[in-house]
Symmetry: C2
Subunit: 381 residues, 2 copies
């Protein structure tokens, strides 16, 4: 079996944003398109990045119109602005949404066509312009991943685009940015991190190189997610969750994900809901379903979340893991059901159809039928 | 504090060499300089790489003259061949020596000057041509690292060149290549791996991203180094040691090393000795010296090598680690003293002077004086 692993250069730490300008210089770029969203801009993070660009004598164009579930038209508009202004590089600043738009823009400007053409795995042929991604939410892992998720409203579908080309040249993570997130967003993005780590760890494409990252990510989330939700100013917890997110990103970017994300993308294409919340609701249900496919791995997750030593009582430890994840989500106030999360009159059959064809379903450890997905959605409703 | 991490794209597994041609196509290169050594070529690994290049319709020039402790003139000759033949990319095939020559050639052809100009940290300004490194010894970690070590015979000095630019674009590791190594080379390179992992783990530049790699590398070496030395055909052990080497490489490339390597470079510049053997002789002595700088980390190493649970009896565990490393080296027949390894009439003062100024000394966890080094060398003689 061949193991592949790819990661961007990583710059992690307090005030890491100050290295943005210098980093673009190293990549040989002079004129940068900055992609962000209004909330992140208001919090002052884009300003910090701009300050660093200006200090390095670089020029820039701002495009701060990314939305929570970013759409095809946002990518197209950004690409047009890039081309009209003769930019040479793309800087994303924000959470997964802004970074995914930034990455998709970089695809379009060098590859042409429509972003829909690149849906699926390895459809991008030409290299992208230099890209740097500054993560401000520590949830999506987009700053290190091969993934971009873009909503196609015409088909009511979240497209999963997977390609090595989508791994940015440089990922910048500054834990200070997490101190402006409210507790709801901290909980939702934290549970997204946990879902990344768990799905990557039990993925059929997991490797020793992704396992070490996934395990460490879970250990950090187990210890620091609760205090991070509890306090905006607990810098130790913010640093730990930023690292947890980064390590989960390195794991899932290379091991891919599973049924939680396939279903979550299907739901997210149809309904305007929080991606992190949907994941956290689906996660224990899918863990129960996947359990028999990888009992040893679920037992290991049990030892992390229950802080007990692994023995050969595998079944018990696996079940303990699932209960522990439920407790954690409860403790930080995550909704328990899709209904609670705002899902109304779900069309189970349609969503099951879409989920079954999502790129993330390929690496789920247990074989999945359409009927299985319908049942899981009903359980989670 | 800012944490930085950089790694090449990694392709790991049986027959991974077959992906060489396709990988160069992705990097946009058509004409490749292949750098290797006569032994590796004889074992048939360069032929496999050439087969893959030819299948991808690429052309190549062979330069198979790297030696065990590669010298400045080998780099200069290779660069000349590259330029005369209008090559566009560099492929290294071999152990650390061949890969370091390949990387140094890539530096010269795009940066000009003499290779001595780039000694030290971050002296390389222009990007390198596309580089792919195929590791066939699983010791040096050169296929993933920011390092190249080149001997300057004029100064009798092993130059340490450290730069992000030296991280190859793609690292290819095929565990099958380890099945042609004899037990002596397997032992020496395995102990080199162990030294990388331990020095990176206790380095002052260690980060959570390097720790997970260093720890996993030690766990694998603890379990698989003995059986790998025992048998050429134990593929499970070869795979594990190849992964251990890769993970140690990822760790030390980013956390740098310490006094063992600083001293080993100093000795290697003066005397023609095996780098792996020198490291393994120095390692327990330096561990004893460094112990008080990082008792918790040494205790953790103790838990890995003694398979016992960590308690708060730190001193005992740390000492256990050192004894365990000595046992491991004994078991696989490594020499115990520098005298046994062939070192004759050492000039302690001269070597201490050189070691003190080696780039690797900066990250040693305990402050080191010239007198300390002289004492350590005497202890190890």
């Amino acid at each position: 079996m061949i193991t592949k692993f790819i990661a961007p250069e990583i710059i992690f730490g307090e005030e890491a944003i100050q290295q943005t300008g210098e980093s673009f210089l190293r990549l040989g770029a002079q004129r940068v398109l900055i992609v962000s969203d209004p909330g992140v801009a208001e919090a002052g993070w884009t300003e910090k990045a701009i300050h660093s660009l200006t200090e390095a004598s670089l020029t820039y164009i701002s495009y701060f119109e990314a939305t929570t579930n970013p759409q095809v038209k946002e990518v197209e508009k950004g690409a047009q602005i890039y081309i009209e202004n003769e930019c040479e590089a793309v800087l994303g600043v924000g959470g997964g949404s802004a970074l995914d738009v930034a990455k998709a823009i970089a695809v379009l400007v060098n590859n042409g066509g429509r972003i829909e053409d690149y849906e699926g795995i390895d459809k991008i042929n030409k290299p992208l312009p230099p890209t740097i991604m500054i993560s401000t939410t520590s949830g999506s892992g987009s700053e290190v991943s091969q993934f971009a998720i873009i909503l196609d409203p015409a088909r009511k579908k979240k497209m999963t685009i997977v390609s090595k080309s989508l791994v940015p040249d440089i990922a910048i993570v500054d834990p200070f940015t997490l101190m402006t997130k409210d507790s709801l967003l901290t909980a939702a993005t934290g549970l997204d991190v946990l879902t990344h780590a768990i799905e990557a760890y039990v993925s059929v494409a997991a490797t020793p190189l992704t396992d070490v990252q996934a395990i460490r990510s879970m250990e950090l989330a187990e210890r620091y997610l609760r205090p991070s939700v509890a306090s905006k100013t607990n810098l130790e917890a913010k640093k730990a969750m930023a690292m947890s997110s980064l390590q989960a990103g390195l794991a899932f970017s290379n091991a891919i994900l599973g049924a939680v994300h396939a279903m979550s993308h299907a739901i997210g294409g149809q309904y305007e809901l929080s991606h992190g919340e949907i994941n956290s609701i689906l996660l224990p249900h899918v863990m129960e379903f996947n359990f028999i496919a990888a009992p040893e791995r679920f037992a290991h997750i049990g030892t992390i979340f229950c802080k007990q030593e692994y023995s050969d009582r595998r079944i018990d430890y696996g079940r303990t893991a699932i209960a522990a994840i439920r407790n954690l989500a409860d403790d930080i106030g995550a909704p328990k059901t899709l209904r609670e999360a705002g899902l109304k009159k779900p069309d189970y059959e349609l969503m099951a159809d879409i989920a079954l064809n999502d790129a993330c379903m390929v690496t789920n450890p247990r074989d999945v039928t359409k009927k299985d997905i319908e049942q899981l959605l009903q359980n989670a409703y």
